[in-house]
């Protein structure tokens, strides 16, 4: 029998905050005249009264997890799935020894059959090193011609003038992005797709679009001349284009760095049904910053093992690059009792606030990093500041200077409420458009995600 999930784990599956809210309001027995859980088959099912005459039929395969619901919602998982799992997590779904009803059972059986046919992805090791080398060579050729095409496209934009891009639809960027996907340069494709919103991002859009085009051009030139680049910078260029390293290879090949890593901030982003969690760490002894990335398809939970405000004694291995920031966890040494020795992380919560730096220190560090990696556009900020309101929300250092908050971060009211006009330690991402606030520490020294 599957271990019962706690409510946090269920809520983490929600595609957005409104789904969480509606699911919570639906998670009452009144909406669910019939529910059941199969002890052996790791499945939960239920019928939910909705606006339609017939109840919605919801079934969850807990081993996936995988979901199915008869409602027309396009959210995934839908509110019914979440509500059903919430009921199950609080123990309100009775075990049903008779097994699932037919409508749930047939789907579960079909899934189980499919699963037994699909070979597991782990076995996809390259079998023939010569074939692998040939594939790698083919990819280089494709990427090279793709980048040449991109550079021509960028030249065309600037030749004809960017003024036309305000009338262009998403297709304008999707088309060139799709070509980069064909050229096996997914990093470029993602960057290009994100540009479609820039012409409608308000005053200064033209400058922001030119910045992005210029940096893409720089990347194309750098790839063309990669033989001349020092190895770390070459690694940076290749990773930004989309040559990804396998985490296992990075862990096996790199030099582990052990430290007490403070988990300072976390940001979740979603693009194309893939959710990305960016977790920022800072080493107590080394003072190094590290960025952990974890990914999940829509409907799957993101890695939740490192809570903001905690500290973990761990070996990290950094991905190669001109400014090594991205890292992976090789091993954690938090098992304080020493008896278990297992993988469970018993990190002490509430490591207390980190040492907040000055705004000048933040900008100095970013400038130095930018000199090594000109494409770097997000940098861990840990500063001692007072938030100020206006003309636009900003933060003010002890020296009287101020930095803007990122316009996309909204009003940031919780940050203001926490500060009450007094200095707070703030962690966030510094970006070219401003500081994106992520974590602040309250008077008791507890980390508060913003």
């Amino acid at each position: 029998m599957a271990e019962r999930w706690d409510r946090e784990r269920v809520l983490a599956l929600a595609p957005d905050a409104p789904s969480q809210r509606t699911a919570l309001s639906l998670a009452s027995g009144r909406a669910w005249p019939a529910t059941g859980a199969a002890a052996g088959a790791d499945a939960v099912w239920g019928e939910c009264r909705g606006s339609a005459a017939a109840p919605y039929r919801t079934v969850v395969d807990l081993s996936g997890p995988a979901y199915r619901c008869s409602c027309p919602s396009r959210k995934f998982p839908c509110k019914h799935v979440l509500a059903l799992l919430l009921l199950w997590s609080e123990g309100s779904v009775p075990d049903d020894a008779a097994g699932p009803p037919d409508w749930a059972g047939s789907w579960l059986v079909a899934r189980a059959e499919r699963a037994s046919r699909t070979p597991s992805a782990e076995q996809a090791e390259p079998k023939d090193p010569r074939a692998a080398a040939r594939r790698a060579e083919q990819r280089e050729t494709r990427v090279a011609s793709g980048l040449a095409e991109l550079d021509r496209w960028l030249g065309d934009q600037v030749r004809q003038g960017l003024a036309a891009s305000q009338q262009a639809g998403y297709a304008h960027w999707d088309e060139i992005a799709a070509r980069m996907v064909d050229a096996q340069a997914p990093g470029l494709a993602e960057r290009l797709r994100a540009l479609a919103s820039v012409p409608h991002s308000g005053a200064g859009w033209d400058g922001r679009l030119l910045e992005e085009y210029a940096l893409l051009h720089l990347l194309a030139v750098a790839y063309r001349r990669q033989a001349e680049l020092p190895p770390p910078l070459r690694a940076t260029v290749r990773s930004r284009i989309g040559f990804s390293l396998r985490q296992a290879d990075v862990l096996a090949g790199g030099q582990p760095i052990r430290d007490h890593w403070q988990v300072l901030a976390r940001r979740d982003l979603e693009q194309d049904r893939i959710r990305t969690r960016r977790t920022w760490l800072r080493g107590r002894k080394t003072g190094r910053d590290a960025l952990l990335l974890s990914f999940a398809a829509a409907g799957q939970a993101l890695d939740d093992s490192l809570a903001v405000g905690a500290e973990t004694d761990a070996d990290l291995v950094f991905y190669p690059g001109a400014v090594p920031l991205r890292a992976a966890v090789l091993a954690r040494h938090d098992d304080s009792d020493g008896a278990g020795g297992g993988a469970s992380g018993g990190a002490p919560l509430d490591a207390g606030p980190p040492d907040g730096g000055t705004i000048a220190g933040l900008l100095g560090g970013y400038a130095a990093a930018l000199a090594a990696d000109p494409w770097l556009d997000s940098w861990l900020a840990v500063v001692e500041i007072i938030p100020v309101r206006g003309p636009a929300p900003a933060v003010r250092g002890a020296d009287g200077g101020s930095l803007p908050l990122h316009p996309g971060a909204g009003d940031c009211w919780p940050l203001f409420a926490l500060s009450g006009g007094r200095p707070v330690t703030l962690a966030g991402e510094w970006t070219p458009r401003g500081l994106w606030p992520l974590t602040a520490w309250d008077e008791a020294g507890r980390a508060v995600p913003l």
Binding site: R159, L210, Y213, A214, G390, A417, L418
Partner: protein, 439 residues
């Protein structure tokens, strides 16, 4: 700065028609030798250089630069401590959609213990209260009190939240000149501070108040209701406005020592008796014969005015009378506790007795009866009717969760009816909630 703007302008027009400017980057020589032939590539090269230079060279906006934001005055320190982290976490969940109807209870309990809402949750709380407060004005006062100094500080920054300070900063002018909701806020604050002064103000203003009389009575209902309010309420029973009469009767029925309560007790006394037959005690029920003018004056509604569709006329009258009768009438008449009375078999009358007594227990805030009624329902006593389910839903939100059973032993888990499952989950939620607020 202008060098970048020149590049942007050229890129907007396009290099087919515009010259490519040659910006000077401080510290970097202009490399005339490396100029490629394509002006578009040249513009992109220069833009890349300048982009990185500008990003790396972001300066602190120095004091007095015009960009600088005014520092905010610091919030005054709040002597009251914040609630425990567990209580804060639960409030966070409630604001996220879990049992939002219990928000008022959370806030009331926090205010009673002189504890504050954690500052980080204030924006979400104030937003929610602003949205729902037209239908629940008492939430404004509660959130302002539980928010303390930090909420008042925030309210000065965001015009959406001015209700927080409007409550505390209003003077006598608010009463004379303010709109209805401001006057209500003023009266509620006065009632909380000095119940007698609020009553005096209502008495003075009554004649000229017109449609605001209902608002006056709703303020009385929320705080400090006592027998001292009885003369005012008894007089209101003869008002022309049916809504005012209804409120007055409702409030008098909440006061067990009121004359209305005694009149009801006389009407009710003949309706129930305990018969000790050979098969043990039974409750024998005789509903009132009819509804006279005196009963109508005391708020008893006739059949047509609503009520559960499944009751016939006389059953409905019994239900109305029971709901307004002081509960000590029964403990006195039978010489038994609430629990013992409910244990006497009442056969088919059980659902009516359950809803009638529950309404009385909730109105009179009688925890002994509420506890006994919840326990009776969770043990499967009064068999389920739609109306009974709604009554249990309300009881589970008002009874003291520490005293009630919070589980049912009546039958296996899979067969528990939904209303009982819901009541149990609400009682457990409130039990944990109140315990966390003690921490």
């Amino acid at each position: 700065m202008s060098e970048w703007q020149d590049l942007v302008t050229a890129s907007l027009i396009g290099t087919e028609r515009a010259e490519v400017p040659a910006p000077a980057v401080p510290g970097l020589p202009v490399r005339a030798d490396a100029v490629p032939g394509d002006p578009a590539a040249l513009l992109l090269d220069r833009a890349a250089l300048l982009t990185v230079a500008r990003r790396g060279g972001t300066l602190i906006r120095p004091a007095g630069s015009g960009f600088e934001a005014e520092p905010l005055p610091a919030a005054e320190p709040d002597p009251a401590p914040a609630v425990s982290p567990a209580a804060g976490g639960r409030l966070d969940r409630m604001l996220g959609g879990e049992h939002p109807d219990l928000l008022a209870e959370w806030l009331t309990a926090a205010v009673a213990r002189s504890r504050r809402v954690p500052p980080r949750l204030l924006p979400a709380l104030l937003d929610r209260v602003r949205r729902v407060s037209p239908s629940d004005p008492d939430l404004r006062r509660l959130s302002a009190e539980a928010g303390g100094a930090r909420a008042r500080w925030l309210a000065r920054l965001n015009p959406d939240w001015t209700f927080v300070t409007a409550l505390t900063e209003s003077g006598d002018d608010t009463w004379r000149l303010g709109g209805k909701s401001q006057r209500r806020g003023y009266l509620a604050a006065l009632r909380a501070r000095d119940p007698a002064a609020a009553r005096e103000l209502i008495t003075q203003s009554w004649a000229a108040a017109g449609p605001e009389r209902v608002m006056f009575l709703s303020v009385l209902a929320n705080q400090g209701l006592s027998l001292a309010d009885e003369p005012l309420l008894e007089a209101a029973l003869d008002e022309r406005d049916a809504e005012v009469r209804g409120w007055a009767a409702h409030l008098l029925a909440r006061l067990p020592g009121s004359a209305l309560g005694q009149r009801m007790a006389r009407r009710a006394a003949g309706c129930l008796r305990i018969d000790r037959g050979v098969h043990g005690a039974r409750l024998i029920v005789t509903p009132p014969a009819g509804c006279d003018a005196a009963m109508r004056r005391d708020g008893v509604t006739s059949r047509r005015a609503g009520g559960p569709a499944e009751m016939d006329g006389r059953t409905h009258l019994l239900h109305e009378v029971l709901a307004r009768t002081p509960l000590r009438t029964w403990t006195g008449q039978f010489g038994r506790t609430a629990e013992q009375i409910l244990a006497v078999p009442s056969d088919a009358w059980a659902p009516v007795l359950f809803t009638g007594w529950s309404r009385a227990a909730m109105a009179q805030r009688d925890q002994d009866w509420m506890t006994a009624l919840v326990d009776w329902a969770l043990a499967g006593g009064p068999t389920g009717t739609l109306f009974g389910a709604e009554t249990l839903r309300q009881l589970a939100r008002r009874a003291d969760p520490a005293r009630c059973a919070r589980e049912t032993t009546a039958r296996p888990a899979a067969e528990i009816p939904l209303p009982i499952r819901d009541a149990i989950s609400v009682l457990r939620f409130r039990y944990d909630m109140l315990k966390e607020l003690e921490l």
